[in-house]
């Protein structure tokens, strides 16, 4: 399969990429690791006139630990994130999540910024970004701004990014004592995309769940939070009965997808199952 023709630019800096985006408008797409975009180009699901390659922009690389935050360069590959010591120590659920994407070769190329910008309904990182309350840092013609993960994913393959903005980094919290998070996924056996993926975060204060956030991907057209399930767990002891009740409350607000791999009804059932699994593990980790 061969993509339709396009003009190609290899940007060296974020500013150069923004300039090219402004110049070419809606006709242009950014190319990072290419593991979402190139398959779409090959199937001619996308036919941008212009590709702006940002895979060699050094400003987008690197992972830094900044007090209670991890700042992950948008161009960091899944491999780099999954192997990073600061990520594994401070935010292990992120390493757990990106370490399950695709396969080794996919993880060697695919980037966190690319995944979040593409917003594939079955991508894993949006679920973890939602559950951890990540911040997506972007740069555009008018300077930098930050988008809360809660406001990022608007619809199928659609985000809050403007067409002339570039994701520069993603900020994740470093989890402390009493906090735990986990990602549980029903994976497609060949592509390893999430048929259903659930990321859960819990925080305990004095033996009681004081905060809970759940992000679900794969089930519907866009990754979403689960407010009813989160509220069901907060204020409880986080025991099995409380987790079961919270999991049972999961599944709201999802525009379920059905395909040859899993019907909408099956995905709906699996959201509850994988919410329970993710919460169980998150609680176990939070209790240390």
């Amino acid at each position: 399969m061969i993509p339709a023709p396009f003009q190609y630019y290899a940007a060296k800096t974020v500013n150069e990429a923004i300039g090219l985006l402004q110049q070419h408008g809606e006709d242009a797409k950014l190319l990072a690791g290419g593991h979402s975009l190139l398959p779409a180009l090959k199937l001619r699901l996308a036919q941008p006139a212009v590709l702006i390659d940002i895979s060699r922009v050094s400003e987008l690389k690197g992972i830094t630990s900044n007090g209670d935050r991890l700042v992950i360069g948008a161009g960091s590959t899944y491999y780099e994130i999954a192997r990073n010591e600061a990520v594994r120590a401070g935010c292990p659920v992120l390493a757990e999540c990106v370490g399950q994407i695709g396969d080794i070769q996919v993880r060697n190329r695919g980037t966190i910024g690319g995944s979040l910008a593409h917003a594939d309904p079955a991508a894993d990182p949006p679920a973890v970004a939602l559950a951890l309350g990540a911040t997506i840092n972007v740069m555009g013609p008018n300077g930098a701004r930050s988008i809360a993960a809660d406001n990022m994913f608007v619809g199928m393959l659609t985000t809050a990014l403007s067409s002339d903005e570039v994701i520069t980094s993603v900020t994740f919290p470093i989890l402390g004592k009493g906090e735990g998070a986990a990602y549980a996924k029903l994976r497609h056996p060949a592509s390893r995309y999430a048929i259903v993926g659930v990321a859960a975060y819990v925080k305990f204060d004095n033996g009681t769940v004081s905060a809970c956030r759940i992000g679900v991907t794969g089930a519907g057209s866009v990754a979403v939070r689960q407010p009813a399930a989160e509220a069901a767990l907060v204020g409880t002891s986080g025991d099995d009965a409380a987790i079961a009740a919270a999991a049972n409350a999961a599944g709201d607000g999802i525009d379920y997808l059905g395909d040859i791999h899993a019907s909408a009804e099956y995905r709906q059932a699996m959201v509850k199952v994988f919410t329970r699994r993710a919460l169980t593990e998150a609680v176990r980790r939070a209790r240390g």
Binding site: M1, I2, P3, A4, P5, F6, Q7, Y8, A10, L31, G34, H35, L38, P39, L41, K42, L51, D53, S55, Y79, G102, D103, I104, Q105, V106, N108, R109, A190, S191
Partner: protein, 160 residues
């Protein structure tokens, strides 16, 4: 057209390519290195795995222009002076293939695995080859072949 310079198996090539040309097509059709295969063409099967700057990638999911300035290693670059690479020898000795279609990608993925983990367990070998599909062998002899190569590369006696 774009002009790219790529080092493939130690030899430098400068070529004019269409930006939409995939790396695997560049290797096969521009450089006539047809050892790298196209299988599923959807980043799943791993028949097209090559190393780019030392890291295994699926060359059906990378543009040739993205390899500008890079160092690419393909299956043709493994044998030295007529001597098979230990991985090639292992696949031969352990019958790690039947039809052979997946073999170049398997070997390149295993090459990446062994440079990171010279002494893998069988489970680690299987995990290291998670991105490569074989429809003939059931994988068992592929794991043996990689262990054969791993032992030989460590300078130990090869497993019986």
């Amino acid at each position: 057209m774009a002009t790219i310079t790529v080092t493939v198996n130690g030899k430098s090539y400068t070529s004019d390519v269409e930006p939409r040309m995939l790396l695997v097509h560049y290797l096969r059709e521009h450089l006539n290195l047809t050892g790298t295969h196209i299988g599923c063409d959807t980043s799943q099967c791993g028949a097209c795995v090559v190393l780019v700057d030392g890291v295994s990638v699926k060359s059906c999911t990378m543009l040739a222009v993205q390899a500008d300035g890079a160092n690419v290693l393909t299956i043709e670059g493994l044998a030295q002076n007529g001597q098979l690479h230990p991985l090639q020898e292992g696949f031969w000795e352990c019958h790690g293939l039947q039809c052979g279609y997946c073999t170049p990608g398997m070997i390149m993925a295993a090459y990446d695995l062994l440079q990171q983990n010279p002494n893998p367990t069988d489970e680690e070998v299987r995990h290291g080859l998670e991105g490569n599909l074989c429809r003939c062998t059931g994988y068992h002899n592929i794991v043996r072949a990689v262990q054969y190569a791993a032992a030989k590369m460590r300078g130990e006696a090869v497993p019986a």
